[in-house]
């Protein structure tokens, strides 16, 4: 009787579980679709804004008002390929490939420091003929994957601080050092935030997570005050009006652009700020151009798209089939979302300007290709969440 009941219970439970898994599978597919739709929308907005925001600078520097637009289209093309492949490659493959990927990335970062090119004192790009690669963008993905793989493998040992700290310090130390040598504090902070998210969603005890977070925050503060130009950014952020022509210039011009846009914007292609008033209009400050041209309404739409992207990523992460998938999904989601928040926060003057771009929207072909590839990985985690249960049943 009890066996029978147990059997019935087990059948009921299994059916319920199956139904639940099937529902989850549908939900995951929906999340992936949402993700693609959000990314597509952001790409369209980004490309439209890039044409406008970059045209004046493009004429000035390249004698071709569509120079940046064309390069961005190349990046998006590469991104589409990366996204298509990544959504089909089982994410579990990165568990085995994590160390080679990370090693390769470290190699690229080293090469960037030795033979890289850049502007304004920073050395950020590797040029191979007409192609330029920003290794630090690839590093974002590499760090997430390698940390998730290591923490997954060591999940039984994470209660021991040494076992936890050694790989984290090694990965973050090497990556952080190489990127800070470029130097690029903004990217380092984004990578640290993504890494912290991976750690948070691993089996690591909460107190270790808190130590790590506090250490990261401390290091970021020290680094922020360690270079004059970074200090200027903080001063400019705290009181832009104290030096309108200097440290406050970029933020004030951002305010001017947004204020000119008002509720509904000045119209597509009608930005005034891009006429050399707003520095980095097509990269770090593209959100201000969007706000100027499409107003508060356009700005809110972009924010909602990022919220939607975060929600889809969060849903995929929580329903991931295994801890590695959860960690990678969370890492990617936090990377993209955190970067968006820091970028928009800088444009709106609530966070210091860090020089990082708005994912999918800002000009930057490596960034857009790598981000789209990462979205492909997220999609594969979503699809795997459903397919694995189906294979089991």
């Amino acid at each position: 009787m009890s066996t029978r009941i147990a059997k019935v219970t087990s059948i009921t439970a299994r059916r319920a579980a199956e139904r639940k898994r099937s529902e989850q599978s549908v939900a995951n597919a929906r999340a992936a679709t949402t993700l693609f739709a959000v990314v597509a929308a952001l790409l369209v907005i980004g490309v439209t804004a890039t044409i406008s925001a970059s045209s004046a600078v493009a004429i000035d520097q390249q004698s071709d008002s569509f120079y940046f637009f064309k390069r961005q289209l190349v990046g998006i093309g590469l991104g589409l390929i990366a996204m298509a492949i990544a959504s089909r490659v089982p994410y579990t493959a990165y568990k085995k490939l994590a160390v080679p990927i990370f090693t390769f990335t470290v190699g690229l970062l080293l090469a960037t420091l030795i033979i890289g090119t850049g502007a304004g004192g920073a050395q950020r790009w590797l040029a191979v003929g007409p192609i330029t690669v920003q290794a630090s963008e690839i590093a974002k993905f590499a760090v997430i994957v390698v940390l998730a793989a290591v923490l997954d493998k060591k999940r039984k040992l994470l209660g021991d601080f040494g076992h936890y700290a050694a790989p984290v310090v090694a990965v973050m130390g090497v990556t952080g050092l190489l990127i800070m040598l470029q130097p690029d504090l903004g990217t380092t902070i984004v990578i640290a935030a993504a890494a912290l998210a991976v750690i948070l969603t691993s089996a690591t005890p909460v107190r270790f997570v808190v130590y790590t977070g506090m250490t990261g925050a401390f290091l970021a503060t020290v680094l922020a005050f360690s270079a004059d130009y970074r200090l200027d950014r903080i001063i400019g952020f705290r009181d832009p009006w104290a030096d309108v022509e200097g440290t406050g210039w970029q933020l004030i011009q951002s305010y001017y652009a947004l204020g000119s846009g008002g509720m509904t914007g000045v119209g597509l292609g009608a930005s005034r700020a891009r006429w050399f008033y707003l520095p980095n209009a097509h990269t770090d400050f593209i959100y201000a151009i969007i706000g100027e041209e499409t107003g508060f309404l356009g700005g809110i739409v972009v924010m909602l798209l990022f919220v939607l992207l975060a929600a889809a990523g969060w849903a995929i992460a929580t329903r991931a089939a295994d801890p590695f998938g959860r960690m990678v999904a969370t890492g990617i989601t936090v990377w993209l979302t955190f970067q968006a928040i820091v970028n928009i926060g800088g444009v709106l003057g609530v966070l210091p300007i860090t020089g990082i771009t708005l994912p999918f929207v800002s000009y930057g072909s490596t960034a857009v290709a790598v981000s789209m590839g990462a979205v492909g990985v997220l999609a594969n985690i979503a699809y795997s969440g459903g397919s694995r249960t189906r294979r089991r049943s």
Partner: protein, 577 residues
């Protein structure tokens, strides 16, 4: 609950909170503070470019242009971009015809904007640009051109290099001629995106306040008469070896200056006189002692007050009269107190008419003595002396009447045209009052002002009665006599009755002493029955044999008067056959 799930939820909530904060901040910047930011933003972009108005044209009374503005190009240099100053200056000078050393001086002053040569013809400027010299470019700059050069220059005046009127009608009517500048207000990029990039942000609105062109002036000058007068003055200066000659032709009924010339002329393009002197217009600004032409006023006073008539006999007119006792004993000064006639004659009785005809100083002084106290000066003022005529020209002289208290000889001097300073225009206006049946009319140089819409404003001259119609008629008969049988016979014009008066006065030296140089003049009108034109000719320091008005000035008067009568279409009133 699964601890990892709790962490995920907390993470998600944290991010949601961050997004909510950013959304609020976006609202604050783009909605709450938006207007302030938008205003400040617009302020930093707004800029304006002034657009100069076209300067009005000055026409003669028949529509011939006397001063027009044409397109021209100035060659400018940006010394920062000039590679070789000497080479650049020499090349520009070779093509434009300027002075290369002066251009080099400009380049060496530095800065970012220097004129090398201004207001070239467009083709010439293009030739300079075709040299392709670094730092050299052209700037559109209109140029004022005077098609008739020196002929009307003393009236029309001139503008400075920047096109602002500095002399003559150009100066007097500068406000009307200048118009109102326009402005183009637009949003500018922070910096230029290159030489071919737009100077305004393309999508931004542009506000254009159009320039309002200056008004056109229709002057009173009759160009053909002006030409004739200029030629007559030139001939006179040549014939009499005079220093200068001035002619004013005045419309009797209107006070309009039909011609006003000075010789040597003035080059309004080079802004210097043909004799190297700076701009002056003696006809309006100059003052001379009118001599016998002044007798017109003396006799008009007598006739108008009824003290004497033209036939009144003045008994025992000698050829010398001593007003200040002992004055005639001194040979040094025969005008201040001791007066003589030009030619010696027997002491005899003379009618007023005869005194005027032979221009007897003694007779005139005797006649003047009959006038009541203050009458002569009163009439001088009625005829516009010792006061500006009000002609539309800058720097007009008011003239002067010398009436020192206790001066025993002053009235005698005044009656024959000494001790009084008048401009040629004042004398012409005084004669015109006689021609105009006793009504003095304010002379004018501009008939009407035409604005850009074609609206015409006619200028009205003020008038006042100087003497009665009868007096004017009687004086005209006396003037006629002067030309028919007196000192002004050379002033006759075939086919017309001409009346006028000669004048010869000794010039003063720098110390106020009279010297053996004269101002020889003739002022007259025709036809005498109903005069249409007054012409005044003043010849400055003719050779000794031509020192009188009758010999130096009357012939030029005849030529100009004939031209004026023909130009105005006045029918002959004498059968000259």
């Amino acid at each position: 609950m699964d601890p990892q799930r709790v962490r995920m939820i907390l993470l998600g909530l944290g991010f949601l909170l961050a997004w909510a904060g950013l959304g609020y901040r976006l609202f604050h910047v783009q909605v709450v503070q938006a207007a302030d930011f938008a205003d400040q933003s617009l302020d930093q972009r707004l800029t304006s470019v002034q657009t100069p108005p076209d300067r009005g044209t000055i026409f003669d009374r028949n529509g011939d242009p006397l001063a027009i503005t044409i397109e021209a190009q100035s060659i400018i240099a940006d010394p920062r971009l000039v590679e070789n100053g000497v080479f650049t200056a020499q090349q520009v000078a070779a093509v434009s015809g300027g002075n290369w050393e002066r251009m080099l001086g400009e380049i060496e002053k530095g800065g970012s904007f220097r004129y090398l040569i201004r207001q070239l013809e467009p083709a010439q400027a293009q030739a300079v640009l075709d040299l392709g010299l670094p730092g050299v470019s052209a700037l559109a700059e209109p140029k004022r051109v005077f098609p008739h050069g020196p002929i009307a220059a003393h009236v029309v005046g001139m503008v400075n290099i920047d096109g602002i009127g500095i002399e003559g009608l150009e100066a007097y009517y500068d406000d009307a001629l200048s118009g109102t500048g326009g402005e183009v207000i637009f949003e500018k990029p922070l910096k230029s995106a290159g030489p071919d990039a737009p100077i305004a942000i393309p999508q931004a609105e542009i506000m254009t306040i159009p320039a309002i062109p200056g008004d056109d002036l229709v002057s009173t000058i009759d160009l053909s008469l002006q030409n004739a007068a200029y030629e007559a003055c030139g001939d006179t200066v040549e014939r009499t070896a005079a220093e200068a000659c001035w002619i004013v032709a005045l419309g009797v009924e209107t006070g309009e200056v039909l011609a006003m010339v000075g010789f040597p002329g003035f080059d309004p393009h080079k802004r210097v006189g043909l004799d190297g002197q700076p701009f002056d217009n003696f006809a309006i600004r100059g003052m001379y002692e009118p001599g016998s032409t002044q007798k017109l006023i003396t006799f008009a006073a007598g006739l108008d007050t009824g003290v004497f008539g033209t036939a009144t006999v003045v008994g025992g007119v000698a050829d010398r009269i001593e007003i200040t006792p002992g004055a005639c004993e001194s040979d040094t000064d025969d005008i201040n107190g001791c007066y003589g006639d030009f030619s010696p004659h027997e002491t005899r009785d003379m009618t007023v008419q005869e005194i005027f005809t032979i221009s007897s100083n003694v007779g005139t002084i005797r006649a003047q003595q009959m006038l009541g106290e203050g009458v002569l000066v009163d009439y001088m003022e009625r005829f516009g002396q010792a006061g500006k005529t009000g002609v539309d020209f800058t720097g007009e002289t008011p003239g002067v009447i010398r009436t020192d208290p206790g001066c025993s000889s002053c009235l005698a001097s005044l009656s024959i045209g000494y001790g009084v300073g008048a401009s040629p225009l004042q004398m012409a206006a005084a004669f015109a009052a006689i021609g105009n049946d006793g009504v003095w009319t304010e002379p004018s140089l501009v008939r009407s002002i035409l604005d850009v819409d074609g609206h015409e404003t006619e200028l009205v001259a003020s008038t006042r009665r100087a003497v009665s119609e009868d007096t004017a008629w009687a004086i005209r008969q006396m003037l006629l006599n002067v030309v028919v049988e007196g000192t002004g016979q050379a002033a006759a014009v075939p086919g017309y009755t001409v009346g006028g008066k000669t004048g010869t006065s000794d010039k003063l030296d720098e110390n106020g002493q009279y010297i053996d140089q004269t101002m020889a003049s003739f002022v007259g009108m025709a036809p005498i029955g109903d005069p249409k034109v007054v012409v005044a000719v003043v010849v400055d320091n003719p050779a000794w044999e031509y020192r009188t008005g009758g010999t130096a000035a009357a012939p030029a008067f005849s030529v100009v008067m004939e031209a004026a009568l023909h130009s105005l279409g006045v029918a002959p009133d004498v059968d000259s056959r």
